[in-house]
Symmetry: C2
Subunit: 289 residues, 2 copies
């Protein structure tokens, strides 16, 4: 049970956490904080937060747990604004899609990593953003990855773990660097490819017709290209190293695949498609377990 | 109204057409034909077809309309097996995802293009295949592209148009080559990218974890990689020229995008993501009209 939860950045991610915890009674008061007062008023009207302030120092005052759910590029400034305002036992966690950059931001802002700091990443979301899109079930049966640091206290880790479990999520732990490599492959690369595909098609002479005759598969394929541009800009910058590595790998594979099409090597194409279809099938089976 | 419709290849596409036409009373008898007797028995049990034969010559006997819904690589053999068995007014159409190769196959098999032949392509489908996955609503509010030839008779074109309209689809017409270029961009390229992505991830050391932590966006993104491997092998071979052109273009754009990530050019990345998100938004709005 969290007496006071402070959420910095009350959008889809922060808002859904607040709703989920309120639904199961795992939180007393939810304090919202953001640069945009109108968004905070919306969040309060929706019952997602109980009160709000645009001042981070005031928002974290008295909090048991603070969640940062802002774009990665905004993390350092947010940490800096907390300095001197956190209680001795305040737990601080975040929902950033890359973890090394958040740890570096905390290190820079605080000078040393606080014992209460436990980086986290809920693997959930939709292409929607904003508190209006938030809902209590977002995390149910989804995975949340925590990347506790050598500096993280066991009590802080337990509090963050309990919080996410209360939303119905499964909580895993892994190292910061490993997290960033896995997410580069499974999330950051696909987003980049989808944005790139839409952009390529838009620039073509027949773009209007291309979009008119696009089928359902295309709509699914490009859904992630409707995600928030600033969030994804920040992810590309924050997870640059791991993203570049997997991007180079994909491009090399795509070159080989292009060569198969060029050679008209039906046998190799069918083998690749069969292998990919089978792998995806196994993955979907796993997801549905 | 079609008295006898013969469907060669009774799977998702052919089966859904039969169901839709039966539902609105636009067809009398549906004759199924395929190499696989067990599939035909299933189709008959499901009420999708009224009778069947594995012999194409016998199947097209007495047909008003013949639909070929087989992989592109099987078209020529199917056309060849019809020679001498079509009535003078029999209309022949197909559901192939590329059109130039089907026209070439008909030309080769028949020696000359029959007046009753009108190539077509319903822009609908799911990643499922087989008659069990077929349903009457598959074509409702979807687009069907017809690519009538100089040799196609107006009566044949009208019959094919009426048939698809009876399923609730919108029917458009365009030239064969133009169809193949548009579809290469909007359908064939995304499929290739999705298959390629899954294959890249499978080959990575962390592949098991990658799939375990994949989020919903990844599932949507790779849905089309669960499509039938033989169908997609044939599409790559049949639409090689147009597919290579758009693939080269995408690869060049992806190289530029990689360079933006490498340089850490946040402004250019945000601009690209914003542009792509807006374009996709316009497209989805269009689809929902």
């Amino acid at each position: 049970m969290i007496r006071q939860l402070t959420i910095i950045g009350v959008g889809l991610i922060g808002g859904s956490l607040a709703r989920a915890l309120k639904q199961v009674g795992h939180v007393g008061e939810v304090v919202g904080c953001s640069r945009n007062q109108a968004h905070l008023q919306d969040a309060q009207k929706l019952g997602v937060i109980d009160r709000f302030t645009t001042d981070i120092g005031a928002a974290v005052q008295g909090a048991d747990v603070v969640l940062l759910a802002v774009p990665l590029g905004a993390m350092e400034d947010c940490f800096r604004a907390m300095v001197g305002h956190l209680g001795p036992d305040t737990v601080v966690t975040d929902a950033g899609s890359a973890k090394a950059s958040v740890v570096a931001a905390a290190q820079t802002a605080f000078g040393t990593l606080p014992a209460g700091f436990v980086p986290g990443h809920p693997i959930a979301g939709t292409e929607q953003s904003g508190v209006q899109a938030s809902f209590a079930e977002l995390y149910r049966n989804r995975r949340v990855i925590l990347t506790p640091l050598a500096s993280s206290s066991p009590a802080a880790l337990e509090a963050v773990r309990n919080m996410w479990q209360a939303t119905g999520a499964f909580v895993d732990e892994m190292g910061v660097e490993h997290h960033d490599e896995v997410l580069a492959a499974t999330s950051h690369l696909p987003h980049l490819l989808a944005y790139g595909l839409v952009d390529t098609l838009v620039s073509m002479d027949e773009s209007e017709e291309i979009f008119r005759f696009a089928a359902g598969g295309f709509r699914d394929f490009t859904r992630i290209a409707a995600s928030d541009a600033v969030v994804w800009r920040d992810i590309c910058l924050a997870n640059q190293t791991a993203l570049l590595a997997v991007l180079e790998r994909y491009r090399a594979d795509l070159e080989k695949l292009t060569e198969l099409v060029r050679r008209g090597d039906g046998e190799a194409l069918a083998a690749l498609f069969t292998r990919a279809k089978a792998a995806r099938g196994r993955f979907v089976d796993q997801l549905e377990k």
